[in-house]
Symmetry: C2
Subunit: 399 residues, 2 copies
């Protein structure tokens, strides 16, 4: 029952301050205390540091990076990544590509196989309108559909061959099958083979730097060999795109790799932190900038309190628990779709109405639960960024 | 490589048929084959049968039902539930209440504790404008904030006391603590105590009907005792609201229970099917009406194929796998945020471009991933229903 009355009053007063005085648009919340919970927060100082650190790394390494926008689905973040030096952004879905193209982002790479003919038409249309949307293709049927659609609209489309280097999920097998696909691509006048995509999803979250390096190098070696096979066979397949936040400084040392598809580094999450860095058990190369703001809404028991963020507010696809900022003693447990409960290994439990921020277990699917990110500078809401292009592949103008 | 050319052509032709000819609004897809994947599908025949069966059950039992709209967040579905005989709908969040009120749905019950003062103001405002939004309160602080806000706007608010009957998540403890809260409510002129809410979340998914009945009856007995205590103490607390799809025909036999908060019965899911019914290992009282439509997008391996629905398209909070309609031999495994892989225990794997529908592991958080439900009559898209009010508690008019 020890509720902090001033805290409640502070929140109420925050809301009463007229908006539009600061940089934030009129009607937007001005302070963190103004936000309703649950809310998705971004610490801008940390985010900007992450973006710069990754860009600096690749500038020094002399290779490119094309961050994966499936992580954020947010044109404003893509814009900042490109401003920092990225070649463009990768996309997992056609609506993501459409949203980024509409926001004026160039250098787009669609990394997922597209086999629905009308979805292929949407990508061809993007290119016809002058957007540069490269596709990764991994099957003769995809090449055929794309080649025919490109020819129908007389639009040249850049493609990468998507290689399966051990992930067993998408892509064609390396070596001769990939060479055969390159030859097929060559038969379509409006398809232009630019290189290879090789994503080793099974390497990105390997715990321990040395082990992770071993797994990633073995996987990427298959891609490099295939790149050489294509070169010997007369194909100018220059690009080799792959990698992840977990292997950003592993794959950049592999000769032949030209650009990296890093994604989570901008936000970080519990899942990535526990893979370990080059010099420690916690991966600290990038710091957590993303969190979910919650409110304690029930305190009926001595051993636990309840917060207003459950599986609809914090994605559950990894086993790790959300971590409360500044309260390492608090242990979060899922309590259904709407709630989580907190116990403590030491120290008093928070009081009813207290607000807590949680570092998220896995950033990508958590961001996918929200429509906007509150970009904070300290406790000030500097901006509110819409999250566009949810998983649904609808095209009706409503999103 | 055995791709069905006609299947692809069929989809392309489907798209070419001018829209607006059938009942569906112009520009909407007319047939299932027109939909991009992944997409959330509702089989209207099954859905309508589920809605009717539940309404008939409570009509015969002589008690009410107020279905939980956190399951669907869809005003059109709420409208149909009320038309079938529901008292109104329950809501888990203030945006859900606002969305349903805006759609003209009456008889709203907000089942979650609301402790943010500005969020309480939003609920008071809804009531001030003539919407009937009852709240469940479980803490003296909630009562105080709500009582003061109601007085400030001279708006009478109906409340239930939220009881914790074993869920250990929200609500006040039964017996004397609840009576004390009733007395406190009585001190606020603009609060009107209408009864109790008692949700036994720990009972809803107990496997085996007899065991489930035992757990639910034990839990609900505490609520009934508290209701009697309040009556003896002079409080006219008439309502006792609780229950779930898993206990719909258990709790309706308990004297004192006046209305049930059933939710998942409209859609059903794998999680509920495995709890078992009154006469079998599979809970068949209601049939699965909800599914996710997917496309096979990669077939590079003999032992598996990949579909375009991963953790962003099928919620992962329960351990059960999505089940492919008509293909019980297919075993779905998660393969990241964008993909799932399928193996088969018998029979050939689907081909590239094939489309498959999956019954979802857990309906509520899966619906929360989508912006619209395609309501199908057979293979025809009869309507497209927006899913409103995501978890975010924003109020900026954008949703």
């Amino acid at each position: 029952m020890s509720v902090n009355r001033r805290r409640f009053l502070g929140a109420a007063l925050g809301a009463a301050i007229p908006a539009g005085v600061s940089g934030a648009p009129a009607g937007q919340p001005r302070f963190k205390a103004d936000l309703f919970t649950p809310a998705l927060l971004l610490d801008l100082d940390v985010f900007e540091s992450n973006v710069k650190r990754m860009a600096d790394h690749y500038r020094q390494a002399g290779i490119g990076h094309r961050p994966h926008a499936k992580t954020h689905k947010c044109p404003e973040i893509a814009r900042r990544q490109v401003s920092a030096g990225a070649l463009g952004v990768c996309l997992a879905t056609v609506p993501e590509a459409e949203a980024m193209a509409a926001a004026g982002i160039r250098g787009l790479l669609l990394t997922s196989p597209i086999v629905e003919p009308r979805k292929i038409d949407r990508v061809v249309q993007l290119n016809r309108l002058g957007n540069e949307v490269m596709l990764a293709v991994g099957h003769a049927r995809e090449v055929q559909l794309l080649g025919e659609a490109a020819a129908t609209s007389s639009t040249t489309i850049d493609v990468l061959i998507d290689l399966d280097i051990g992930d067993r999920r998408t892509g064609i097998l390396p070596g001769p099958p990939a060479l055969e696909l390159a030859r097929q691509i060559g038969t379509y006048r409006f398809l232009r083979l630019r290189g290879l995509q090789a994503y080793a999803g099974h390497a990105s979250h390997v715990v321990g730097f040395d082990h992770r390096r071993k797994v990633s190098r073995e996987a990427m070696a298959r891609a490099v060999e295939t790149k050489e096979l294509l070169a010997r066979s007369g194909f100018a397949a220059v690009i080799l795109s792959g990698g992840s936040t977990g292997t950003y400084n592993i794959d950049s040392d592999i000769a032949g790799v030209t650009e990296l598809q890093v994604g989570s580094y901008i936000f970080m999450d519990v899942d990535y932190r526990r893979i370990g860095g080059q010099s420690g058990a916690v991966y600290t190369d990038f710091q957590p900038s993303l969190s979910v703001l919650t409110t304690v809404v029930s305190t009926s028991h001595a051993d636990r309190v309840t917060v207003d963020a459950g599986t609809k507010a914090l994605a559950t696809d990894v086993p790790h628990r959300p971590e409360a900022r500044g309260r390492p003693d608090l242990v979060y447990s899922r309590a259904g779709d709407e709630f989580g409960t907190l116990s403590s290994t030491a120290g008093p439990l928070p009081a009813l109405g207290d607000r807590l921020e949680f570092i998220v277990p896995h950033c990508d699917p958590t961001v996918n639960l929200y429509d906007r990110i509150y970009a904070l500078r300290g406790d000030r809401v500097e901006d509110v960024w819409p999250i566009l292009a949810r998983k649904e592949n609808v095209k009706d103008g409503s999103r």
